[in-house]
């Protein structure tokens, strides 16, 4: 049992921490958020130069052979600084899909271009009727010669305007709710028949609703095996959830520390408000939630393993997201309340952490969704009350 980082990982951490300390002051971040793209392409080049874009991807796919722990390190630091660049859509979601679903040389080239910083990616999986469930796919791909014609609309594609290429879940067979018949395909943003509605998100990021109208793609656009894309998509999403959870833990830990500092400094009735027992206990509860979240983050991150048991992974990840969703709500709401009026101000940093954390609670599935998924993944044998493989239980020796 070892919760420490290797020396290589420690170096990455220091490198990312240095970057955000230099580049991501509050005012700089606010300016970036309001810029045309909503993030900095210069920063993106820096990420590429520092090797972060391929950090956790397998070496045989052009990556640097790191593990999800490397992604966690980067994302926790990004969470601490509210970094805006589309690391999760491009690297974690798009990159994972290409790395594990890529079947031809063009896919490899695209992945290499992504790692080099030349191509941005996004995942388009959510639909108006799907909420967070990746198995509900109404977007169709109908056979057309050796390729397909895609029709449908995907919602809330993170940084859809910036992404050059989308990884899109389409239905090549079965009904809207069938697990079989889902296929992941690549579609370029600028392909004929692709249109977008772009918007800002409430946490200062960007997203798009993307509509595909008679978009023609070739057979080589398919990632993985046609009709069998759901397993890959779940793996991709779990990788993304783990990354968002790392971001959330970074975010929460800043809210927790900032709030403690604030109530130490802020005076009311002639004393620091941090001397009031009710605020003290609420600050302690924030600390507890951050620590529980961090523990789950480690558990969830380590469960991301392309060769591991999918049910175990889904259970670990969904448990992690559920815990972090709950904890984030407690920490965020407490942070605002303990800051009082200044917490409501757009000019002060805490509200931005709160808003981002609120959206992290929903992104790629809210607590409710992941609790259901946690239950479904655990009940492998169909029974309840026994035989559930839970790492927590294994750790405690109960099984």
């Amino acid at each position: 049992m070892d919760f420490t980082l290797s020396s290589e990982q420690q170096q990455i951490k220091e490198s990312v921490d240095r970057f955000v300390a230099d580049a991501y002051g509050f005012d700089a971040r606010m300016a970036l958020s309001k810029s045309a793209d909503g993030f900095s392409r210069d920063h993106w080049s820096t990420f590429a130069e520092l090797g972060w874009l391929g950090i956790a991807l397998p070496e045989d796919r052009g990556g640097f052979g790191g593990t999800p722990v490397e992604t966690m390190i980067v994302m926790e630091a990004f969470g601490k600084a509210l970094v805006l660049e589309p690391f999760v859509p491009t690297v974690v979601l798009g990159g994972t899909a290409l790395a594990y679903g890529g079947t031809n040389a063009a896919h490899g080239d695209r992945l290499n271009a992504m790692i080099a910083g030349d191509v941005l990616l996004a995942l388009a999986y959510a639909e108006g009727n799907s909420r967070y469930d990746p198995s509900i796919v109404g977007t169709t791909a109908k056979p057309d010669g050796s390729g397909w014609i895609v029709d449908g609309t995907k919602r809330a594609v993170a940084y859809g305007a910036a992404a050059d290429t989308y990884v899109v879940s389409v239905r090549t067979g079965g009904g809207e709710h069938d697990e079989d018949g889902i296929t992941l395909v690549l579609i370029d943003r600028d392909a004929p028949g692709v249109s977008r509605v772009d918007y800002r998100t409430v946490d200062g990021q960007r997203a798009s609703d993307v509509t595909f109208s008679g978009v023609r793609i070739g057979a080589d656009a398919v990632l993985g095996e046609p009709g069998k894309g759901l397993g890959l998509l779940e793996y991709v999403l779990d990788s993304g959830v783990a990354a968002l959870c790392a971001e959330a833990v970074g975010n929460m830990s800043v809210m927790q520390k900032t709030t403690v500092d604030y109530i130490k400094a802020r005076e009311q009735f002639g004393v620091p408000i941090g001397s009031f027992q009710v605020l003290q206990h609420r600050a302690v509860d924030m600390l507890i939630e951050v620590e529980l979240s961090r523990s789950m983050l480690y558990y969830g991150t380590v469960a991301i393993d392309p060769n591991g048991d999918a049910k175990e992974r889904m259970r670990a990840i969904s448990g992690t997201k559920a815990q972090i969703g709950r904890s984030g709500r407690v920490v965020g709401e407490s942070a605002i309340q303990l800051h009082g009026g200044i917490g409501m101000s757009e000019e002060y940093m805490i509200g931005h952490y709160f808003k981002r954390m609120s959206m992290l609670g929903l992104a790629l599935g809210d607590t409710d969704f992941h609790l259901r998924r946690f239950i479904a993944a655990g009940n492998k044998s169909g029974g309840e009350g026994s035989g559930i493989g839970s790492a927590g239980k294994q750790l405690a020796g109960v099984n």
Binding site: N129, V202, R266, G270, F354, L362, D366
Partner: protein, 380 residues
């Protein structure tokens, strides 16, 4: 034990309801329904309609243009405005400064300011909170120094709702810096067009611009703008805050938000059905609805008690706590119900959730309210 309104009150409610239905401009109603921020003209238009009917200031004595409504009727009036999606009567003039002027002001002040409130010539805003004071109002540091026939005011006030539209502000300022905390504070009326007054907008985390900072730099105000006696400001402020605290429960508004929440949950597809039809989300909504129902009857009990005793009780503190917690619970469910739609900053789901975080902070934070209840109601 009879929990229904009397026939007179029901007739009264019908009268108000019919009035709102007939007189509220559709454009304003639409903005209210859609959650779009109103502009100055919207408020003024509606205030003039109310004023023409004699209903802009129900709480004032009849002699100054108020009504002789009972406490229950005043409550019905407030609720009916919310129900009909009419803008709230802005409290700053009608419900804050006016009662202070009526109770503590000079005859000249009454003659000058009350009619200008009724005619919407004056738009008031409040000037008691300060960047450094928060819940500890008495720690304020804005100074008003006598200089000939003027006070010279220096300092800053914050958390000032709609100050961008106001031409008048009432200011709590320290006129005697040597006196202890609550002493030495005075209540002064300030024309905001006076040189040295600056309004600085504060954007809030929901993207709204409702609140402002107002900065005073050597602002000269005639001595006659003092209300009551010099150093008596703390008494007037306490009087004012007790008036403010009523009506922060927002029961009718919460029932409306609950309806909107159910609409959202009915539109969201979920697991082959709708979110509303999934038992557990519906149950979470029901739980809030039950609590809101309990609050509505609790408020009625408080009104009945106030009607009997003619003085407001401490119930307003726990009604405020519960009402704001319910508002926050509803908007939290709205954000959650919206799913990916809540990310879109053109949607109100998440923004309402952000916005309503303020309700447990302002008008006496919920922590302060619990302190008050512990001390004054439980004797702890």
């Amino acid at each position: 034990m009879d929990l229904s309104f009397s026939p007179e009150d029901l007739r009264f409610r019908e009268e108000i309801r019919a009035f709102v239905a007939a007189e509220l401009p559709p454009a304003i109603k639409h903005k209210m329904q859609a959650g779009i921020e109103l502009e100055r003209d919207d408020y003024v238009a509606w205030q003039k309609i109310l004023s023409a009917r004699g209903w802009l200031a129900p709480n004032w004595p009849v002699e100054y243009g108020g009504t002789d409504w009972t406490i229950v009727q005043k409550h019905i009036f407030d609720e009916e405005l919310a129900v009909g999606f009419a803008p709230r009567s802005l409290p700053f003039g009608v419900s804050m400064v006016a009662p202070v002027i009526i109770n503590f002001g000079s005859e000249e002040q009454k003659q000058r300011y009350l009619p200008r409130i009724l005619s919407s010539e004056d738009w008031w805003c409040q000037g008691y909170s300060e960047p450094g004071s928060g819940s500890d109002l008495a720690s304020l540091s804005t100074r008003a120094e006598r200089d000939g026939d003027s006070y010279v005011i220096n300092g800053a006030k914050t958390w000032i709702t709609l100050a961008q539209y106001a031409n008048m502000i009432f200011v709590l300022a320290r006129t005697d810096p040597t006196a202890k905390k609550q002493k030495g504070i005075s209540f002064i009326l300030v024309d905001m067009t006076t040189p040295g007054v600056t309004v600085r907008p504060i954007e809030t985390i929901d993207g709204g611009h409702e609140i402002n900072e107002v900065i005073f730099e050597n602002v000269r105000v005639p001595l006659e703008n003092l209300v009551g006696t010099e150093g008596g400001g703390w008494t007037y402020a306490k009087f004012l805050l007790e008036h403010e605290r009523n009506g922060t429960a927002g029961v009718a508004g919460s029932f409306q938000m609950l309806d909107r929440l159910k609409e959202i949950a009915s539109e969201q597809r979920y697991n082959g059905s709708t979110l509303m039809q999934s038992g557990d989300f519906a149950k979470r909504i029901a739980e809030v609805e039950v609590r809101l129902t309990a609050l509505s009857f609790t408020q009625m009990r408080a009104l009945a008690a106030e009607s009997a005793t003619k003085s407001p009780g401490l119930e307003s503190s726990y009604i405020k706590i519960t009402g704001t917690e319910i508002q926050q619970a509803i908007t939290e469910l709205m954000m959650e119900a919206g799913g990916y739609e809540s990310f879109d900053d053109r949607s109100r789901n998440a923004l309402l959730y952000f916005n309503f975080r303020k309700t447990s902070i302002y008008a006496g934070s919920n922590e302060i309210q619990r302190n008050i209840l512990a001390k004054r109601m439980l004797g702890l």
